[in-house]
Structures are given as structure tokens and as C-alpha cells.
Symmetry: C2
DNA sequence: AGATCCGACCAATTCTAAATTGGTTGAGAG
DNA sequence: CTCTCAACCAATTTAGAATTGGTCGGATCT
């Protein structure tokens, strides 16, 4: 009934559990048997086992989750890399801040590594956006242009990050489509801004590419805010 | 039997299909009924319908995928945001290049937005890494320190990108764990480098924070290469 | 003959229901 | 009082059925 006694009885199970963990060969992911099974193997009550597991969890040796199981090692940080979950916790303004931080650096890297093939595709996308008869077509080629910049870095992880930002953008902007059905006007700001970006990349001007991309995104942001304020547009 | 006749018969189904698409109210994701159902609704053969769908797909109005269905709009770019798929197409060197591009910018942003709470947590993580008795513990707090920098940006998408990079790192490094069981030495390069990063963030020195983070990552990279060359270590 | 229709089948994907898992509660035994 | 045991709960995984676009071969019609 004394605290010492409780600790004592628990400690024996804990040590027994520690011995088991040291000896057992558990699967790649470090998952150990279910509590019901493990209690049978160790010949202890589930209640007892759970106390011992609780102790090990408290000292960070293991981590548990309902429906998943009990695992050895550090609990993995709950990764926010899920687009759907992420899109619910953010907003267009925050997303634009992230884009302003990331995409200029992607453009900078692209200026260093772009191949003639990439440059040709950039030029083609630029031409297609000018020819676009509808906003749908414009956005198709605009998206591809920006993705080509990311591809030009020739860096797979970087391209993955860019895709994630893009997926987020679609998820966040979801619902409020472009209300304006007319096609983009020939003096749309994006045309000259795209031109500046592509030229900088062609000239291997890393700082110029980053600056041009930043300017472009700020321009897009200004446009979004303007459209938001005048609802009808 | 002439080519014109074929085109003529197809065109009628195509126009019928176009009319249906213009009139029908399809779900949020733009998915239209299954071919077997749609053919019944339009009163045409599935073969005929498929020809018409093929035409519309060719001109980019719709896109199809086995098991998924047929959808209106542009085919979504096959996003590389899947960690597992991504980790197979990349390598540690490429990943480190991406980190060198992204993480300094995260540190720069953090220097601008970090709250006293974040600074306190950074200091705590730094202390914990110094106290670490094993590499496992060291890595736990090192990881948390770097994530706190990302949290300090107070930007959800940016934090998501950071988590994605981290998940990638774990996936790519998978298999070759740290072979050295001894604890980190007191003069480990990371200690002073972390100190420089945290100090810069405390001083709201954005350029300093970015530079310190870049230096730190380059140091880690050097370390990795050295360990790789001397396999035994 | 030759195109078309029809049914069946295939592989990729989604949907659904059962099984599993850690966490919790309450009655009863010691 | 404490511990045990069984049942239950919600989160998660798993496995199998159902669905979907794509394909093939024989039957049918022109």
C-alpha cells in the first residue's frame, strides 16, 4: 500500500518489458505486439502491462496511438504535409507570403541550371499565354510556365515543394473561380513580368531572376486584393 | 463510308455530348457520370460515346483515368508531393541542395516574426542538445530546434514545406543510421552554429540568420560526405 | 467486306464493412 | 481499497467487393 510497494511491483514488470524489448526482433517500423498479445506473452495482466508501457512512454522510449499500435523510438512529428489538412489551417494571404519566400529562390536556382530545352519550353509557354483565347487556357499555360521554371532547377525535391505549393493554391482558392469570362488583355501585367523572368534565366542572372519572380508575385497579389475589394469585378 | 461521313456521325454525338456538359450540373470535382451510365442517358452506344469522349479529350476539354472516372477541365499535373514516390527519385546530395536553397530563407523569415515564446523554445532545444547523453537524444532535440525555427515563421504553408523536406530526409537517409553510438562531443560544430543562428534570430538579423543557416547546412553536408568516405567511422 | 454493337474481361481505383488497436469504464473478486 | 476482467469506444488498418476507363473477340447490321 505504500508508494514504494507500488513502484516496486511496477518496476518488475517494467524490467521484464525492457528485457523483452532488448531481445525481441521487431519489424522494420519498430512496432511491437498488441497489448492483448504482449500481456499474454509476458504472462502479466493487461492492466499491469499498460502501466509499464505508460512508464516507458513517459521516458520517451516508446510511443503509442489508438488504432496504430505501440512503437519504439521517438514519436514522429505530426507532419503537415497533407494538402487537405493544410489548406484548412491557412489562407490565401499566408500562402502568398510563403510563395514570395520560396518561388524567387526557385527562380534563382533555375537561372543557374536551366538547359536550352527548358528555355525553349519557357518561350513556348510564354507564347501560348499570349495567344490564349480564354482565361482557362491562359491559366493552363501560365501554370505550366511556372512549373517549367521549377523543373529547370533539375532538383526533384525542389520540384516536389513547388508542386505542394501549387496544390495548396488550388485547394485554398477553391470555390472562388475567376468571375471574369473575357480573355486576358494584351497589356496584362503578367506578360511583361514573365518576359523579365525568362530573360533573366536566359542570361544566367540569378539575382535578376529572383527579383523578377518576386515582383511578379507581388503584382499577382495586388491583383488578387483589388479583385477581392471590388466583389463584382 | 467516306471519311466525311464518319466525321459527320461522330460530330453529332460530340455536339450532343457538348450540349449535355453545358446543361448538366456536375459535382464539385467536375466528374461526369460513368461511361456506362452516360451512354444510357444520351441514348448512344458506349463505343460511340467513347469516340466522342476521345475527341473531347484530344482537344483538352476533359481528361480520363482508369478507376477514377472522366473529368472536366485540365488534367492535374501529377504532383510529386508524395514522399515515398519522391524519395525514390532523388538522393541525399540533391536533397541537400534543396535544403540549402529553402531553409536559409525560412530562417530569414523566422528572424522577422519569431516571438519570445519561440526564442525561449529555441534556447531550450539548444540546451537539451548540449545535455544529450546519446545521439538519439541529440537528434531528437536537433530536429525540434530546426522545426521551431520553421514554426517561428508563423506561416503554415512554410511549416508544411519544412515538414515535407524533413520527411524526405528521413526517407532518403533510411537504412544507414548513425553507426557511432557515443554521444556528441562538446566541441561538435553544430553547437556554435546553432548558437549563431539563434542569436541572429534574436537580433532580428534576417541576413545573418539566413547566412548562419546556410553555413550550418554546409557544415552538416561536409560531415556527411566525410562519414561516407570513411565507411567504418 | 467492313464498320458497329455487344458482352465479357482486365487493371487501376475507390468504397465499404469487418477486424484490430490503444484507451476507458464498471462490476465483482481478493 | 486495489486489482482483474470483460465489455465497450473511437481511431485506424485491412481485405474484399464494387466501380471505372480501356481492350478484345465474336455477333450483327449495312
Amino acid at each position: 500500500m505504500l508508494a514504494v510497494d507500488e513502484a516496486g511491483s511496477n518496476r518488475s514488470v517494467v524490467t521484464q518489458l525492457r528485457a523483452y524489448l532488448a531481445q525481441a526482433t521487431l519489424p522494420e517500423d519498430g512496432r511491437l505486439p498488441a497489448e492483448r498479445d504482449l500481456s499474454a506473452v509476458l504472462g502479466v495482466t493487461r492492466t499491469e502491462l499498460r502501466k509499464a508501457l505508460g512508464a516507458l512512454e513517459a521516458e520517451g522510449q516508446i510511443w503509442r496511438h489508438v488504432g496504430k499500435g505501440t512503437f519504439m523510438g521517438n514519436r514522429p512529428v505530426d507532419t503537415l504535409s497533407d494538402i487537405a489538412a493544410l489548406s484548412k489551417r491557412t489562407n490565401p494571404a499566408e500562402l502568398m507570403r510563403a510563395r514570395l519566400i520560396i518561388e524567387p529562390e526557385i527562380a534563382r536556382a533555375a537561372a543557374l541550371t536551366a538547359t536550352p530545352m527548358h528555355l525553349a519550353e519557357l518561350r513556348m509557354c510564354q507564347a501560348r499565354t499570349r495567344e490564349a483565347a480564354t482565361w482557362r487556357q491562359y491559366e493552363t499555360w501560365d501554370t505550366r510556365l511556372h512549373r517549367t521554371v521549377a523543373e529547370a532547377t533539375q532538383n526533384t525535391p525542389l520540384l516536389g515543394l513547388f508542386d505542394m505549393l501549387n496544390a495548396l493554391r488550388r485547394a485554398v482558392t477553391w470555390g472562388r473561380l475567376r468571375s471574369n469570362p473575357v480573355k486576358p488583355e494584351p497589356d496584362h501585367h503578367s506578360f511583361t513580368e514573365h518576359e523579365t523572368i525568362i530573360t533573366a534565366i536566359e542570361n544566367r542572372d540569378m539575382n535578376g531572376a529572383a527579383a523578377a519572380m518576386r515582383t511578379h508575385l507581388q503584382s499577382v497579389e495586388r491583383n488578387l486584393l483589388a479583385r477581392q475589394s471590388s466583389e463584382a469585378d
